[in-house]
C-alpha cells in the first residue's frame, strides 16, 4: 500500500492516466493530501432520495449506475479545470456490484481522476460476538484486476 505522500505526488501531476485509486484512511487526511488541488467531494448516498428508495437490489443497482453516470457527465474538466473527484460511501459500489466502470467510462482522463475513500479501520468497531468482520473484503473487491489502479493508505 502506498503512502499519503505518494498520493499527494500523484495529485500534483499535470496530467493523469485513467487514475481511479483507493484511499484507505480518513477523509480529513485525504483532504490534507489534496492541499491546493481542485477537488469535488461526492457522496454516493446523495444519489438516493430517502423518501423514494428503490424496492430491491436490482433497482438499487440501476439507480446507482444511472445516477452516477448522470452526475459524472455534468462535471466539466479541461486543461484549465483539473479535478480530483473524492467519492464517499463506496461500499455501495461493492454491495450492488457496479464496480467502478462508470468512473472510467465517463469521468477519468488526462485532467480528471477519482479517489475512492474507504474510511476504516472496521476491525476496531465493537461488533456483536456472532458477527465476524472481514476487514479486507472491500479492499479485495477494489483491488481485483483492473478495478482500481493503485491503493494508498493513511497507515502503511
Amino acid at each position: 500500500m502506498k503512502t499519503a505522500a505518494d498520493l499527494a505526488a500523484l495529485f500534483r501531476q499535470r496530467t493523469w492516466d485513467k487514475d481511479v485509486v483507493l484511499w484507505v484512511g480518513s477523509e480529513r487526511a485525504l483532504i490534507e493530501a489534496l492541499s491546493g488541488v481542485s477537488h469535488t467531494v461526492f457522496d454516493l448516498l446523495d444519489l438516493f432520495d430517502e423518501g423514494h428508495l428503490p424496492m430491491d437490489d436490482e433497482e438499487t443497482r440501476a439507480q446507482l449506475i444511472n445516477g452516477l453516470r448522470r452526475t459524472l457527465r455534468t462535471i466539466e474538466t479541461s486543461p484549465e479545470r483539473r479535478t480530483v473527484l473524492v467519492v464517499k460511501s463506496i461500499g455501495l459500489l461493492a454491495r450492488y456490484r457496479t464496480g467502478v466502470k462508470e468512473f472510467y467510462d465517463w469521468f477519468c482522463g488526462d485532467f480528471a481522476m477519482v479517489v475512492l475513500v474507504l474510511e476504516g479501520p472496521m476491525e476496531d468497531c465493537l461488533w456483536p460476538d456472532d458477527v465476524i468482520c472481514d476487514s479486507d473484503r472491500l479492499i479485495d473487491y477494489f483491488q481485483a484486476p483492473a478495478v482500481v489502479k493503485q491503493v494508498f493508505g493513511e497507515r502503511e
Binding site: 485513467k18 484486476p145 483492473a146
Partner: protein
Amino acid sequence: MKFRELGKIISVKSEPQTTPSLQQVITRGKARETVRDYLFTPSLRAHFKRVLECIVHRTGQGFWVQAEYGAGKTHFLGTLLDLLIWGEEKVWDVVGDAEIKSEYSAPVSKVRMFPVAFSLRGMGESSESDSLMRVFEEQIKESIREFAPELEEQVKVTSAELAARWYLEEATEDEKAGVTNFFRREHKCTPEEYRSQSGLKKFGQELVRSKLPEGRLRGKYKERFAFIYEQIATLGGYDGMVFVVDEFRSWQDRHVEGTAAYAEDEEILETLAFVLPSQHLNIITLIASQGDMPQKLSGGGEGDRFIPLYLLADKNKGDFGEIVVFRCRDLAKGAATDIKDYYDYCRKEYRFIRQGNISLDYFTAIFPFQPRCFDILRRITQSDEQNNLPTIRSGLRMAWETLGNQSLLKGHRLLTISDLIRTAEMQKGLSHETYRDSYQNLCGALEQLPQLDVAPEEREQAQRILEALYLWSISLPDNLRDGLTAQEVAEAAWLTDDAVGSTAQAEHLLEQLVQGGFPVRSEKRTREGKEVTVFSYEISATRESPVKYFAPLKKKAKEDIKRQDTKWIEGLFWQLADLTKEATEEGFTGGLFSDFRPPDARSTRDVQDGKPAVFSFPHRAGASTRRVNKTAYSGEVVVSDRWREEFGKEIENPDQHFRLVYLTDQPTVDDAKITADLQDPRIAVCRPETLSEDTREALADLLAAEQMKRNCSAPSQSTLREYAEEKRRAAVKTLLKCQQDEYRRGKVLTQKGYGIPSTEIFRSTKGREEDLAGRLLEKAYDTPLFSSKDLKKEFTDADTKKLFSGLFHKEPANAGKDAARNFAVGLELATKSHPTDFNPASSQALAKVREQVTGRADLPLSDLKAALCRPPYGLTESMVTLYVFALIKSGGFELVLNPNTGFTLVNGKALPGDRLTAHTLPLCEWNAKLDRALLGSRLVASVHKGWNEVLPYARILDADLKPANTPDEEQARNDSLLTTLAKLNVENPGVEKSMADLAAVLGGAVPQQLKEVCARLRGLAAAGSYQEFDAAARESWAEKEAFAAAYEQYDKARRLRDRAFHLSQIIGYLRKACDVDNAIEIDRLALLETLKFESLLNNPSVIGARERTFDDWKARYVQAYRKSHRAYYEVIAELAAKLETLRPKVQALLRMNSIVELGPPLAVTRGVEAELKALSNALWVCPDSTAADVAGKDPLCPKCQWRPNQKPSAEDALSRLTTVVSQGLADRFQRFKDASIAAILKKATTEGKGSGLQELLDIIQLADADRLAGVLNDDLIAFLRKVLYDENLVDEQVFLGPILQQIGPIEETRVEDAIATFTKLLTKAIKDAKAKHGPGKRVRVFLRSDDSWISPLDQQKGGGT
C-alpha cells in the same frame, strides 16, 4: 545553409487528450472530433480496410486488436465505430485518409450495423455472476436504449424476458397449468395476478426459478445470440451487428487459463466470431486487449476465429513517431519546401537518413523531431507495464510539451532527445524509483559541467551529449549493453561546428567528458566487420550482502519434500517466459514438457502469491513426426501424473498415427503391467527414475530463492532481490539439466519391446517427439503404398492440397506446380519424365483403392481411410483422399459428397448432383468447405469422356498457351486464344490512334509498315475459332518467323502506347518549364532531345529510364522554382505592406481635395486614386506564394504563371506615389493654416461645432498626416464645407420707412412707376451693404417696417421681434 526557424514551419496544436474512453468517443457530439484526430498510417489503414471489407461484404468475422497500454486501441475502435454509426454527422467528411474515404465512404453508408460497444475496465468482481454472457446481455440492452430505444420493449435479451415471452406466446395449456400451480404454491396467487403486482421482469425471473420453461430459453450461447440477432435485425432493419469490447485484458487477468470462467469466455468469443458468422449471421466482433489471444481463438486467416490486428507492432514502429507528431503540431502552408531543405541537409551532413532509409515523407511526418527521438522514446515506453513507467501515450505528451518551448521554436535545428528530457512528463517518469538514482547521477554530472575544460558555448553541447547518452542507456533492455559512436552522438544531439564538422566536435567533447571523469564509458565494438569506439552512460548501483536471508529459507525448503515434488511437476511445464537468460543461452526453451503444459487452475492472485501450479491430468496435445517415409504423421502426446489403462488402447482415429505417454513421476505399477496394457505397436510410454539428491538440491534452491524474492519486496531491498534472482536463475538452469537426467535414467516402454534407449530420446528436448514417434513408425509402417524415396521434400497435409491443385487444376498456382514437381512422382501419380503431368499408372495406393472399391456399388470414404491409415500401409488421411480424387480423375468413378455444406465450384456454381466427377474435379478448390463436404462422402461407379498444330502461331500472341492432350483441354485452349484475340481486337485501334497522336506531339511520323501490321492484325483478331485464326494468320504470314517479327513491331508500339499519355505530359511540362537555374535549364534541353518518336518506337525499353531522368530533373526544378517564386513574392509582400500604410493617407488627401472651398487641389495629386489602384493590382501576392503548385502537370504556378524574368517593378511607382501624396497633403495643410480659414475653424471649434474638429486642428497644426485618416470622415468633410460656405454670407437690414416715403402715395396710373422706384432703392441698399462688407462676401437683406428689428442670428440666441 540558412534554414527557416521552426516556429514559421509548424504551429503547435492545442493540448492533446490522450486517455480516451470508448463510451465517450462514440457519442454523437464527439464523433467528428474523434475521426478528425485519427491518423491512418499505412499499417492502420490496412487494419481498417481489413475490417471494413468484412463490413461492406457483410461477412461476419472476429478481430483481435492487440497492443500495449496507451497504444491507441480505444481511438482505433472509436474511429471505426463512429464511421459505422455516425454517417449522419458527416464523419466521413473529416476522414484524413483519401484512400479509406474514397473506397469505403459510399459502401459503408449502405450498411446499417447495430453497435454494442463497451469497456470491461473497472467492472467489479462478483462470484455468482462474473459471467461474460451476463455482461454481453447487459450491454446489448444498454445499446438498445442508446441507439434504438424504440426496440427496447420488443427485443428480448435476458432469460427472464425470454421466460415471460414463452409464457405469453408459446406455452401450451398444460404448461400454463404447471405455471399456475407453481405460482399458487409459491405466491398464493395466479400468474396473472403476480405479473400485475410485481411487473413483467419479476414474473419472468420467477418463471426461470420454476424451471418450467427450461429448454425453451435458448440457453446455449449460440442460440441466445442468434435469437437476439434475429430480433434486432428484423425489428430494427439492421444488416448486422458489431460487437466491440475494449480493455479485455482486465477480464483475462481475472479468468486464468484452465478455469471454467476462462472456458466460458473462449466459447462466447468463438460463438460470436466464428460459429454465428459461419451460419451467415453478419456479426463483426472486435476485441481489444493488451494480452495475447487465447490459442483456441487464433488462426489468423480469413474465416478463422479471430484475425489479429497488431497496433504499433515492431514492424510498424514508424507509426509511433508519425502519430505522436500528428497529434502535436500542424504544418504551415508551404512547409514542404523548408522541410526539404532540412532533409537535404541531414542527408548530406549526417548518416541517419541513409542508414535508417528514412524517406522524405516520413521525415516530414515526424518533423521537427530527429528520428532517433522516437526510437529511444519507444523503447522507454515499452517497459511501462512491468515497471509502471512512462507509457506510450506519455510519449505524445513529451513531444507536445517540447514543442511548447518557444526558444526551441525560434531555433533552426531539429529537436533531439535531449530536448525532451526537460519536459514535465519526462521528469515525472525519471523520478520513478526505477530511474531515480541514475537520473540523480545525471543531474549531478550536469552540475559538474562548468568545471569541464571546454569553451562556454560547448558546454551546452556537452550537456546535450550527456542527456542523449543517458536516455539511450536507460532505453536499452537490462541485459543489453550498447553505446553510440561519435557520429551517432553527433546526430542524436545535433552537434555542429563549422570548422571541424559535427563528428569531430562530438569526438572532442566525448574525449573531454571521459577524461574529466564524467560517467561516460568508451568501449571497442565490432560493427559490420569494423572495429569502432562506442560511448555509453555509466549507470552504477550499490550492493549489500544477502546470504543471511537466503540460508534459512533453503534449509526450510530442503525439508519440504511435498513442495519439491509440486515444484518438480511445475518445472516440467515451464514456458520460455519462466526461464532465465542463462538457461536460454544453454539452449533451453522451457521445461522438459513445456509444449504440453496442462491448464493451470490458479487465479492471478494465487500466481502472484507464489502458490504452486494446479494442473489437471491427463493432458492431451498434438505432435507429429517426419522421420518416416518423408511424410508428416500426426499423433498425440499424453501427459499424466500416473499410469491408466486407457493410455494403452488401440489407436482408432485415422488422423492419429502414434501415441506418446509421458509420466511426470515414477508410476506405482511396474513396467511389465504397463507393457501388457499396450494394444498398439505405435504407443510408447516414458517414465522417469526416482528423483536424485542433486535434483532435490536444485528444487530447494529454487523454492528458497522464490520465497526470498517475495519477502524482499520493499524498494530498498533491490540488492536482496537481485541476489535472490541470481540464485533463482542458477537453480532454474540446474533443474532443467536435472529434468533431462531423471528421464535419461528412466525407461521407454513399447508393446513389442523395441528397446528404445531413453538416453537417446532425452538427449535434448528439440525434436524429441519427432524422434520417438519416428522410431515407432519406421517399424510399424514398413510397407508403404508409395515410393517415399522419390519424394523430393517432406510431405505434409498442406502439401496434399497444393498437389491437388498442381495436378488437377487447369491453371495451378506456382505452389501447386512446385508441389507436383516435388511429390507427384513419389506418390506415384506422375512419371519421372513428366513429373507435373497427372499419370497414376504405377500407383500402388490407387491399385489398393481400386481393390477396395471393386465389387462394391458404394464405398464410404471413411471406410477407406480406416483400412489404409494403419500399419503397414502408412497412408495419411489426406493421402487417401488424394488417391480417391486420382481415381475419379482417371475415370470410371465419382464421389458423392455430403449435401447442404455450401460447397461450390470455383466459378460459384453449385456442384451438379453433389457428385465430384472427372469433369468437375478441375473446377474444385480443396478448401475447408470441401473438407466438410467430404464428411460422409461415398465412392460410386461413374455413369459417364488439332490445336497443337496451331500452337506455334498462337504462342506468338500468348507464350503461356499450352498443348492439349484431351478434347477438354482443346476447348479450353480455344477459349484462351479467343480471349487473347478479343483483347487484341479491342486494343489495336487504340494503339494506332495513340501512335498517330504521340507522333504529332513528339514531332515524328508513324512508319507505313507499322500501319500495315495493325491492319492485318485487325483481320486476325476477328477470328471466331482457333481454326479461323490459323487460316487468317498463315494467309498474311506464310512463315511463323515473319508473323513473330510483325507482332514484335506491334508489341513495341503497344508498349509505347502504354506510356504515351505520360510521355505527352512530360513533353508538355518540359516545353512549358522556365529557366530557374542554369544547370537545370541545360538538363531540360538535353532531356527534350532524347524524347524523339522514332527512337522511342524502335526501343521502347528506354522509356522507363527517360521517365526516371525526368522525375529527377522535375524534383530539382520544383524545388528551385518554389524557392524563387517564394522569394519574389516575399519582396512583393513587403512592397504591398508599404502600400497599405500609404493607403489611408491617399484617402485623406482625396477627401481634403474634395473641399472645394479650400481652393483647387495640387495638379500632381489629381491621379493618385488611379495610381493607388494600379499599384494595388501590381502588388498582388500569389496565394500559393509559399509553395507553388508545380509538382503536378503545370511547370508554372497555376495561380500567377510567374517566370523568373519577372522582377518586382512597382518600387519606383510606389516611391513616386508616396512623394506626391506627401506634397498634396502639405499643400492642403497649408490651405488650412491660411489665416482666414484658420479663424473660421477656430471659431467653429470655440462654438463646439463639428465632432473631431479640435483633433483636426491639432493635426493640421502638427501636419501629422498619419493621424489624418482617422479623423477625416465624411461627416467632418461635410461640416467643414458648410462652415466655410456659411462664413461668406452677410445679413443686412433695410428699413422700409425711408423707401416708402420716397415712393409716396400710389395711384392707379403710378403703379409701374412706384415699382421701378422700389427696385432702384432696394438695389442701392444692397450695393451699399456690399460696399460695407467688401467684395468677397455674399449679402442677404431683410426688410423691416419698424425699429425693433432683430437679426436671425439674434433670434436663434433667444431674442425676438
